[in-house]
Every structure is written in C-alpha cells, then in structure tokens.
Amino acid sequence: MEIARDTTMEAWKAALNKIKEHGKSILDTEGRISNELLNLSITINSPDEDFTKPIEIMRGFKSWSYPEQEELEDVFFKKEASSSYYYTYGARIFNYTSSKDQIEEYIIPLLAKQPNSRRAIVVLYQPVIDSKLEVKENPCLISIFFRIIDQKLTVSAMLRSNDIFVGWPANIYQLCLLQKYVAERLGIECGSITTISHSAHTFKEYDEEIEVVLMKR
C-alpha cells in the first residue's frame, strides 16, 4: 500500500486515514487494541517544508509528555550509547558493533565517489543481539537506504513496527536531520523521504487525538 504526498503533514494525515479506513483491528502482545496495515509505504516529496510540524502537534497534546527535540536528536546522532537506554539509533548508525561509523566511513565516501551507487545502506538491526527471545526491546528502525536521484539525496527507511501516530513524527524528524547532514556533506540537495513500515499501526486509545490531527488543515 503506497502513499505519496508533497508535505510531511499531508503524508501523515493520509497515512492515519488509510489505517483508520483499511486497518485490521488486532490485539497486541501487551493487550492493546491496534489498527494495523502491513507494508505501508509513505513518501514525502518535500519533507524539508514542514518536517517539524508533526512533533510540534504531538507536543501540544496535554494527555502526555512527548520527548524533547533535543533528546530525539541525541539518541539519533550520539555515537556513545548512554547507559540508561536499552539501545540507541545513534550508536547503531555511528558506532555499529562498537567498530563502524556507517555514515562517515561508508555512506559519505561511497556516494562522493560513486553518486549512482545502490549500495548506500545503513543497517541498525543486529541479529546477534536483537534476535533473542528474552530481549524485551529491539529497534523498530531496521535500515536506511540512501540514493541520489536527479542530483538529490533520497532516503528510504525500513521499520519493522511503526506506530504511525506516536512514533512516525519522531522518525521523520530524525531521518530528515540525517538526510540534511549527509546531503550537506555531499554538497547536494535533499530529495524525498520514504518510510516502509512492515507493521504500520495506530492504537485505539489515541483515536480521539488522531481525529484532532485529521481535522487540522
């Protein structure tokens, strides 16, 4: 199932609508009722225009505290994994298995040398650590693929499990910052961002808030 829109807000609302209309109601392992679609692809053609908007909206709700932008950036860009987190995306991207900075040592030099390469992939999932029955928390973001099309850097991210209402705004914010960073290092412009969510879902308990978002212009 595919969605393609020009702005982040349009894409977010379209995805929430799609799940609302076509999602299958499922009881998850923690007893929460979710609406779920498999393999939902969401493309934002010009994310730069409004990529912070969804997290601003999420921060505006009084029923919960949404993470601060600073923390969202920290966990995505810091290579040192803090002892307080089970894992961080930053450590997986910039210090994979404590030995490889996938952006500095691979993506940037590769695309600088071979702009047409199809090999520019960052992997976050570590089967040796994550594929264990007793592991309670493992990353939702599995891989990030960079590709230069028409002199613009596009990003495609694969997510195994993706709460489109709560988590997707943060994912887009973080991916957009990473895209900007890599594009700047390569001296090119940013292109589209696509997320492919194996399990794209929303939870029933947020139905009211989802309606509020869908009503926004």
Binding site: S65, Y66, P67, E71, S82, S83, S84, Y85, L141, V166
Partner: protein, 536 residues
C-alpha cells in the same frame, strides 16, 4: 589562574549540577599524592609512623585545596552548599542555571549549568507540600544501590566497593546476602570493616542496610559473633534486615533468640523482611524504604546477578506532605492534579538524567561493563507520602484515593514508555509509591497521626489492632516502592516470646517488613505493650 583552581573548575565544568565534597576535590586536584596517602593510611597496622605521616600529609593537602576553594567562594564562583559528617564542606556552583565565565590572568573557563525545569511543582514546593529529596544532587546521584555480596569472597575488597559507591548515591546502599561475607571471613576482619563502615557512613552521611538472608545461614557461631560485635559497635547508620520466613526463624531458633536479646538490650531495631510476602530486598535510607517488585527481582536473580555489582534501585524521590495538602485543599481532584504534575516532573528529570548519565554515572558504568544496561534496568522514581491520618474522618477515603491514583500513575508511566519507545528512546521510566522516614528533610510538617497502642498480646485480635494491620497490609500493596510496619515497644517480655510474636505476625499477615523498635523501652521489661504507627 592557579593550576589547582583550574582543576577545581574543570571538575565543576564536567559535573555542573553536583555538590562536591572537599575530599573529592582534593582527590581530583592531587590524584597521585592522594592515592599514595590512602595506601599509607591503610597500612596503619604494619607501620604506625608512616600512617601518621600520611594523615598529616592528607591534612596539608586538604588545607591547600581549601585555600583555593575559599578563593573561589570569595569570588562568587562557588558556594558552600552543605556541611556533612564531621564537618566536611561540600561545594556547588553559585549559578542556578546558564553560563558562568571565570577569567583570571588570561585564562578563561566557561561552565554551563543546564536548567532542570521543575515549574510544575514549584508552587507546591513554596507551600512546603512537595519536597525533593536532596535537591542539590537529585539528578546527578542515585538514591539507592543494591550491592551483591556473593560476587566477592573477601570483605576488604567488597568494602572498597561499598566505600566507592558512597559518592554515587545520595541516600543509601543495600548489601544483599551479607551472610555470605560473615560466614566467609574471620570475625575479627568483619568487625574491623564494620567499624570502618560505621565511621564512613557517619562521615558521608549515608545509610547502609545489611541484608542477611536467613535461609543461607550455615554457620550460627560466626553469625552470633558478628551480631555481638555489631551490638558492641552499634552503628548509627547501618540497619540490619533479616530476610526470612517463619521456617527459617524456627530452624535457627537459638540464634534468633540471641539476636533478639542483644538487640533488645542495646535498643537496636529488629527488622524482619517476610520473604513469604515479598521476595525483593527492602533497603532503608534516610528518605524511606526502597524495594522492587517480585517480577523485577526474579529478573535480577535469573539474568543479572553475578554480571553486575548489583542493581541501581532508585534514582529520584519526591515527598508529598499530605497534612499540608489536606489543609490547603481536601479535594481528590487537587491530589490527582498534584500527582500528575509530580509524575511529569519526574519524567523531565529522568530525561535529564538519561542525557547526562554517561557523565553522572561514569564510575558505575565502568564497574558494570559490559552489563551497564542491566544494572540500570529496574531503577525507580519514588513518590513518598508523609503525615496522613486514616483515622481522620476527612481522610477516610484516602486508601481508595491512593489505590486509584497509583493506577493512574502506572498508566502514565506505561504510556510514556510506549511513546518514548515508539520514538526510538527505549527507557524503563517508572514511578512507585512508598512511605517516608522523618530523616527525609527537616521541613516536613509535624506528625499529626495518632499511634495505635496495644497493651496485651490478645490485642492483636482486638478491633483496633485488626484495623491497623489490615490497613498496613493494604498500604504495603499500594506502596510497591517499599513500606514497613513498625511496632514501637514500651514493655517487652522474654526474647522467646518476641520470636513467637514475630512468627505469628509473619504467618498471619501480609506484611512485607516488620520492625520491632525497642528504643522506647522503659522501666521493667514486660511483654505487654506495643505502639504501632503508620509512619516514622
């Protein structure tokens, strides 16, 4: 700028939120000299002269560093934030938040102190309703750590770890399975280390709970010797908690009679942790008790024990003075609103702590590598309640209010964990309710609740006592972060009778921790009078 001042300021630059002791600053300024001095002092028994010289040198270093510290205080950069133990000064930055530029003789040091917004609870703090525990260190130190004795064989090395952990907590440590140390070391060595621990806990103003797992006692003689030495030393800040069930007590009947007798004689509190009701250890601090859920404890026993030095039990505590709150506004809506504000504050603090945890808990990270995450897997934030009186008709629904509020707070924590997790920030943020001790701070309201007096053993079956115990049983379930039921005794009888009562209480009631307090023993010793109370 003098080199020592630079070193001091760099220490504060690294840890701008901390209150730092003179000793720690001296160690930072003169690391090599200080470790040589410590080695020589530890050598005391072999060479008294060298040890005395080392002590003199230590004094000189302290004076030298204090001179520079005082300079920084006069210049308005630092302030004396507290004086603890035997008069040791603790220093903190004068600024509350923002940037501090210290410039002297062409050298500039810029220190940034981040703001930790607590504006959600500020108005309640101003009214004395809400109190942070140890505000100077409430972000950069843990409240409580459990250390596992069975990871070590020698008490000397284990005690080094205990000592090192004093600077990592602002309240207390729990020494789990301490019987392993008692039975594996000589009584003389144990007594010597207990003496050191007594002095150090007083100096550092920390508590250490010795947890003796009665099921593992296999050398009653060594245990008796340790107890006799303990009673002789009578450490001020070191409570002993016996983890047992009635069978354990019966199988070491003679030993526990002796313990009862010795503790009674010296008016030391007897703490029995009823393992039949609750498995996770209960640790006593100044702020109150600390514990975990039994599921979390099972995770520790099965997946963590032996891999880490123990467990980080608690990071932050906030107290709510119920008496003052009730005077202000008795509505349950106000109470729920305050709790939610407190929970959101703890969430913010927790985010700040996470962000800087590699700086704040550097030593703990090193000590637990490569299992640091496991060490922090079950760290809790505590909301503690002070001075509520269930006998007050206007507070009669308080238990129900506590119960429903606890559910709300649990839901809040779970929602936040899910939200953070969905955003790629996997955390274990959790809040528990627990009781409080008067040592939490000096600003709590005066105790208002009335103690329940029992004059005879048969009063256990009286209505008042039955109500008291049933209430404590319910509270123990609500206060999943730790609670205890204390019986202050005016008159006592034979220790055999005391043990029979404890066994009766353990078998009959769902009380996780029973404390017998003999400090109010006066006159003839008769087993007739108990003074149970709801809080400390």
């Amino acid at each position: 700028m003098h080199l020592i001042e630079q070193k001091i300021l760099n220490k504060f630059k690294k840890e701008p939120l901390r209150e730092i002791s003179t000793t720690e600053i001296v160690r930072e300024a003169h690391p090599e000299d200080y470790s040589r001095i410590l080695l020589s002092i530890d050598n005391e028994q072999k060479d008294r002269r060298t040890a005395n010289q080392a002590k003199r040198k230590k004094g000189q270093l302290h004076r030298k560093v204090l001179y520079h510290l005082n300079n920084l205080v006069s210049n308005g950069v630092l302030k004396v934030s507290s004086i603890k133990g035997k008069g040791e000064k603790y220093f903190a930055l004068t600024i509350d938040e923002g940037e501090l530029v210290v410039e002297k003789h062409h050298r500039q040091i810029v220190i940034t102190k981040p703001s930790i917004s607590t504006n959600l609870i500020e108005e309640y703090e101003a009214k004395g309703i809400v109190h942070k525990y140890d505000p100077e260190n409430w972000v950069n130190k843990l409240n409580c750590i459990l250390l596992e004795s069975t990871n070590h064989s020698g008490i000397n090395k284990f005690y080094d770890l205990v000592y090192n952990c004093f600077s990592e907590v602002n309240d207390c440590l729990g020494l789990n399975n301490f019987e392993h140390m008692i039975q594996g070391n000589t009584p003389e060595n144990m007594a010597e280390n207990l003496r050191r621990m007594d002095i150090d806990t007083r100096d550092h103003d920390r508590f250490v709970s010795i947890i003796i797992n009665a099921r593992n006692i296999n050398d009653d003689e060594k245990m008796s010797k340790f107890i006799r030495d303990f009673v002789k030393i009578k450490p001020k800040n070191i409570p002993v908690v016996f983890k047992a069930d009635s069978k354990d007590l019966k199988s070491h009947d003679k030993l526990f009679r002796m313990i009862g007798e010795e503790f009674l004689k010296e008016e030391i509190r007897l703490n029995f942790h009823n393992r039949k009701v609750h498995e996770a250890p209960i640790i006593f601090g100044k702020a109150g008790p600390y514990s975990l859920s039994d599921e979390e404890w099972q995770d520790y026993e099965e997946n963590i024990r032996g891999k880490t030095i123990g467990l980080a039990m608690a990071s932050t505590s906030i107290a709510i003075d119920m008496h003052r709150l009730m005077q202000e506004d008795r509505s349950s809506k106000e109470f729920r609103e305050l709790l939610m504000r407190t929970a959101k504050t703890l969430l913010k603090v927790s985010a700040n702590q996470r962000k800087k945890s590699n700086d704040y808990f550097k030593r703990l990270n090193e000590l637990n590598k490569p299992y640091t995450k496991k060490f922090f897997a079950h760290t809790k934030n505590h909301i503690r309640f002070w001075n509520f009186n269930l006998k007050d008709p206007q507070q009669e629904n308080l238990l129900e209010l506590f119960e429903s509020s606890r559910e709300e707070i649990k839901r809040f924590c779970s929602t936040e964990r899910i939200i953070y997790n969905s955003c790629g920030i996997p955390t274990n943020f959790d809040i528990v309710f627990s009781s409080i001790f008067t040592r939490f701070n000096n600003s709590l309201s005066q105790r208002e609740y009335v103690k329940t007096i029992v004059r005879d053993f048969k009063d256990y079956h009286g209505d008042e006592m039955a109500y008291f115990i049933a209430t404590k049983e319910r509270l123990a379930k609500i206060f999943d972060g730790g609670d205890r039921c204390r019986f202050s005794r005016k008159d006592t009888g034979s220790t055999g009778a005391i043990m029979r009562e404890i066994i009766f209480l353990m078998n009959s009631f769902e009380l996780p921790l029973i404390t017998y307090d003999f400090r109010e023993v006066k006159g003839e010793i008769k087993l007739t009078n108990f003074l149970p109370s709801f809080s400390e």
